[in-house]
Subunit: 595 residues, 2 copies
Amino acid sequence: MNARAYRHELVEVAQGIRPADIFIKGGTVINVYSGEFLQQNIALYKDYIAYVGENEVKINENTNVIDANGMYVSPGFIETHAHPWVIYNPISITAKVLPLGTTTTVNDNLFFYLHFGHSGFKKLLGELKKLPGNFFWLIRLVSQARYPGERDWFNKEDIMDLLSIEEVLGTAEVTRWPLLYKGDPVLLDIIDAAKKMGKVADGHNAGCSYEKLNSIAASGISACHEAITAEEALDRLRLGLWTVLRNSSLRPDLSKIIKLITDGQVSTGRILMTTDGPHPSFIEKEGFVDGLVRQAVEHGVPVMEAIQMVTINAATYLKQDDFIGGLAPGKKADILLLPDLIEFRPNLVISNGQIVAENGELTVQMPDLDWGRYLPEKPFSFSAGILANHDLYLYPNESSSDSVPVIHFLSNVITKRKDLVLPTKNGFIDLSNQEGLMYAALIDRKGEWVTKGILEKFAVDLDGMASTFNTTTDLLTIGRNPEAMAKAASRVHEMGGGIVIVDGNEIILEIPLQLTGMMTSDPSFDRAVEFNDKLLTTVQSRGFPFHDILYTLLFLTCDFLPGLRLNPFGLYDVKTDRILFPSTSMTNFLKEMKA
Amino acid sequence: MNARAYRHELVEVAQGIRPADIFIKGGTVINVYSGEFLQQNIALYKDYIAYVGENEVKINENTNVIDANGMYVSPGFIETHAHPWVIYNPISITAKVLPLGTTTTVNDNLFFYLHFGHSGFKKLLGELKKLPGNFFWLIRLVSQARYPGERDWFNKEDIMDLLSIEEVLGTAEVTRWPLLYKGDPVLLDIIDAAKKMGKVADGHNAGCSYEKLNSIAASGISACHEAITAEEALDRLRLGLWTVLRNSSLRPDLSKIIKLITDGQVSTGRILMTTDGPHPSFIEKEGFVDGLVRQAVEHGVPVMEAIQMVTINAATYLKQDDFIGGLAPGKKADILLLPDLIEFRPNLVISNGQIVAENGELTVQMPDLDWGRYLPEKPFSFSAGILANHDLYLYPNESSSDSVPVIHFLSNVITKRKDLVLPTKNGFIDLSNQEGLMYAALIDRKGEWVTKGILEKFAVDLDGMASTFNTTTDLLTIGRNPEAMAKAASRVHEMGGGIVIVDGNEIILEIPLQLTGMMTSDPSFDRAVEFNDKLLTTVQSRGFPFHDILYTLLFLTCDFLPGLRLNPFGLYDVKTDRILFPSTSMTNFLKEMKA
């Protein structure tokens, strides 16, 4: 980490009294303030820019003079909406995206807060200050799936305390946006307080109409990244929301949404772009924020506007434009040397005045965080033995009606209710001859409840799978074969979290995710890609028809996407806000075990 | 003042559950976020906007339904750089500009702080919260003319305390910008702290080259309004400074500077406009922020960009765009109905949800502030008698050289040194036969010192004038006739501050300015215009060759404009930073009086 410059030192460098630490000469500077490309030099001192202009500055034998001839000099890219927990972790994702030119990320604290609580998350935040790059946070106000005790865990006092931290730039997306629409007093109160503190209030308003968005804007939300068409994006822009165009692994929509700019005549100053937590393989293939810029330009956005969206616009939204987002004296030295304006892949990345990557390779040591300190002694409160009981996975035929509500997959994350009449056996629905249907059970980490469901169009040939990678981080089991499900679940239990697939009686894939059940603690991003690729290949070869298995798993247990979901309260119909089949107590199974 | 809306109330109005207070129907809404003109309705509740769209909302018999057919609906205008002390005072200027559509002003605290100190200014700030409109402040870090004890008066502790107040949006212009250029540690320290608090740091960098501006930007300054050409404005924009295009009474430069936009291809999101404290008659004739928009459009700026500059751009610069600057749900209801996009004169003005003006007339009562509480018991520490001594005004011939440095006026505020050999009489320079030259003496309010000078090209036929309207608010006396000067000074002394002109032995003009010596406490803006007009006519008829006498008086005692000035330390050469002729002690005069 670079030492912090005092302003009087910058003034001295600007005047040639004090030698610069780094002097970037002869490049074409991308000036996002004026919207111009200028032949200028840039002098850095410690972590800040001291001079931008045509002159030479004072240098000495310690000055690193960088020849930028033939290169474009860009401000570092900013990702305002990152989820640093998609198998990768804060360290491995930072190590990956810094060489791609993303020098600032604003990160979701969801799983860290859920697992480590207020004080544990605060400790982590403190430790992650050692990361190169600017690693900011947004603070969740609720989880992504209701659970008993949620409001106490996300209490106002703890949240306000976190909001007072310098690295915390605001409140995170409220995925259950109907809470805002209904005027939830606690949420509105915190958002109002956050805004008065000069923090932002990030939004998430998928499928929200223009008329309904009025209430969301009135509630104090400042931004939304959930538009999936140019029209939806325009709705958001018109209502004063910072409009974040998304291209994620789950929703690679940029080619459509970008028409907001390319087909329209709108002011672009309040338009941003985000990758919204793409899976590791997507980043490997498409890049990160660099990929957004590349695609925006491919689709016809002028280069300057594409870069402004991920630099100065983003910084201004975050109220950090005094410090980041542009190349001027008195701003942090986050600088990219770009060989072209086509790929937008930097061959040199400077973050806080330090060269952190060259030719796509990290040149600094990442902090060696002891993740062990963040792992629970007992990831599951129950012993593994219980998982051998097949009844845990089967769907009881307790319904008085003849049909059973089935979770039918329409896409990676959208499902619909389908009511099927199914055979029963020993008091359970019998799927042994039902091609395409499989069991799903979400087993509480604490061993108190289990929620059952039946899936259709998931992966017809899957025997058994278990995964803590889901938005509750409980033990989600899926399969057509309870024996294989049990084996997968037992192995995940043994690993302390992760994803396991069993074929017949054989474990054919295992991904250890001890870190909150979502992340590998492996510092290598490549490892995350490898896990991701193997997982997708494995489920696709067993009939999974979609492209993003991680988000399918993640959101099968959420409570904000249509239609049926498994959550701690039971089989849940999002649209009607009704529990169709309540979760059952695990006590019976525990009793059986003891008996 | 309107009650403060809770966000859940806004949500209810947006959804038609709660009736709106005001419903503006059928107008063309100027959407500064998207840059579009849209046929939409707007619903207000208490002080906020609850709904913007094509639908109807719930109303009841108490709802004021406003027909905006054929009208443009604009966000209220924002003046980011106001000086509420140019004869007018905070109340009379607000009463004037609100009906002109300026619903937010950000005000310089200079004279209030100089006279009332930290606690007195804080009291005033509290009382002025009652003003309709948004009345924000910027806090001075230094005065506009050095004086003994200045740094104690402007101490960091008091300034940081003021910066913590909600209505204080940042630090005010540092007119003596070489302090920043030299890296003054106290100033840089405060600016750095202010920026970390999310406040702005307003700049003032007249005549500062691109190269020197690098140091100013490095010092942390966020904005500058001192460009007088499009090139100078571009320098500021390129260096990351919010670039404020000025059209003031002193510097009506917009027609030139606006070429930054009309002749260029620059991004306009960080360009603002300001009136920079125009004299009362200028506002009467040209309007306020409305006049800036009108002129910008006349000069070829697209209407949308002209309005964005004084609404959303201004709000974003101030980091207040969550609350003001655009028409969207969840923002403050500061709304104008404009009959056309030529004059930009609103026929209805809503501020914080309250109708404050119709057809150019204020419709609300202004707060009746008891200015008496802010007046000193003894505006001058010495008795009036001393002012009868003519020696007080005469320039002593103490110099060993043959020539005397004369303040030669080149424009309203720019002077140059001219060295003249002049006759002497009784130890004083004798101007009795020197056509075009006159005496000037700045007499300390505290009765400790007097600074002497000789003026050329001021107002050749002026017998005597005295004025506390100057940047030190000491007693500035000017004239060719010491007897008339004495009479004018005595009358100002008697009034407790103001401007007086004497012709022969007759007082022909008097403007009482008891409020810090700069402002009338009269709540009528028309009175300020009347004073201003009469003053200008009077001095012009006596040979004053320029257009803005108030700024001539104001800046004759400053220490940041070229070339010679009268300040507390003596006759001062700004460019060389040298005292050419030090101030003399008033003790001698006081002794003479007693003798």
